[in-house]
């Protein structure tokens, strides 16, 4: 049975069916991401002073990934335009560029951004013990300046056995610059271009620790939101890449040879999805990385 209205328009809607289908789907996606963004905003507004991390993401890498996604939107629309002009070779190259951009985005996310977070630790100090770690927290000076108190010491864990061995009584943390030199006024503000961990190692007794987590979704509401939204977005990017791969492989050339407009319509629908996914990132980037 042939699927109707894949190329010609339906008389009652004035559109071919897939276009209505994709817009209904995108409307549901708006509600999905809209709910998640709203949750993020309310969590942030309700956060206690000093408990909302800021400046923990790598802005240069995020900016590069944003540029890659914007470029992919340009190439996908050029691929579609090439099909409309019946230039299959140009379409093939533009589609390859789009797929490459999607893969680069995912690669950077999965091999650079996320793993860095999982190997970075934050130690939340019990309120009663914060004075003991004043040399790493610098709260006296922050109090005087009316700044929010620091409640966490961050860096790279040197003794991983401390996570599992109850006989190891303290964590050894190679400190981030913010805790290595907490009274330096430049550390009052977040560093958007990440600085490497220092050689200075702090020994923190487990008895003084409220909790200790890597920068995963379990660390804070901020990272829970970050991983949920960027993970869901990444899944959408992966879905788009798979669809584009199918449209790029030789199997789609048969569709093109049978009816070029049919393939152009398929690419248009997939391109609309891709633009939506990229548009979501345009909101994700400033919300999580900059503000």
């Amino acid at each position: 049975m042939e699927i109707p209205y894949t190329i010609s328009t339906r008389p009652d809607t004035g559109l071919w069916n897939a276009k209505i289908g994709i817009w209904l789907f995108l409307a549901s996606e708006v509600m999905l991401f809209g709910g998640l963004f709203s949750a993020y905003v309310f969590l942030r507004l309700d956060a206690q002073p000093g408990e909302w991390p800021h400046g923990l993401l790598n802005v240069p890498i995020g900016t590069m990934n944003t540029a890659v996604l914007i470029l992919s939107s340009v190439t996908v629309v050029l691929a579609w335009a090439a099909l409309k002009m019946r230039r299959y070779n140009a379409y093939w190259w533009y589609m390859l560029a789009t797929i490459s951009c999607g893969i680069i985005f995912l690669f950077v996310k999965l091999y650079f951004e996320w793993p860095q977070k999982f190997s970075h630790y934050g130690v939340f100090i019990k309120p009663a013990a914060r004075e003991k770690y004043e040399q790493y927290l610098g709260n006296h000076r922050r109090d005087e300046k009316g700044l929010e108190p620091r409640i966490e010491i961050t860096g790279h864990l040197e003794n991983h056995e401390a996570l599992t061995d109850p006989n190891v009584k303290e964590y050894e943390i190679a400190l981030d610059p913010v805790n290595a030199d907490p009274d330096n006024p430049s550390n009052d503000r977040p560093h958007f271009i990440p600085l490497p961990a220092t050689d200075k190692v702090a020994k923190i007794e487990k008895a003084d620790v409220e909790r200790m987590d890597s920068f995963g979704p379990w660390h804070s509401a901020y990272f829970a939101s970050y991983f949920t939204i960027t993970g869901l977005h990444g899944a959408h990017v992966l879905g788009g890449v798979l669809v584009f791969l199918y449209m790029w492989l030789p199997v789609s050339k048969k569709v093109y040879q049978r009816n070029p407009e049919h393939l152009a319509n398929r690419v248009e629908v997939a391109g609309l999805f891709w633009h939506f996914v990229d548009l979501i990132w345009i909101f994700v980037f400033p919300l999580f990385y900059l503000l």
């Binding site: 939107s73 629309v77 335009a81 409309k84 391109g271 633009h275 548009l279 345009i282 980037f285 900059l290």
Partner: protein, 69 residues
């Protein structure tokens, strides 16, 4: 909405993002005094300009090719 129209909307949002990032870099540079942010601001504003030029080019090309009616 067609892909070409959505693409123009997307380019507008991308341009706004580039302007926003440029403004953010200027602000961080004023607060921190770090020249690297000034370079970021210049790059962002240049990207915004490039996106505007591209958007106009795209619209004209689609219209000329009668892909935009």
């Amino acid at each position: 909405m067609s892909l070409k129209a959505f693409h123009i909307v997307f380019v507008i949002f991308s341009t706004l993002l580039a302007l926003g990032v440029g403004g953010w870099c200027v602000w961080v540079n004023l607060v921190e005094g770090a020249p690297v942010y000034l370079a970021g601001a210049i790059a962002s504003f240049a990207c915004a300009l490039a996106l505007v030029i591209y958007g106009v080019w795209f619209y004209r090309k689609m219209k000329r090719l009668r892909i935009i009616t």
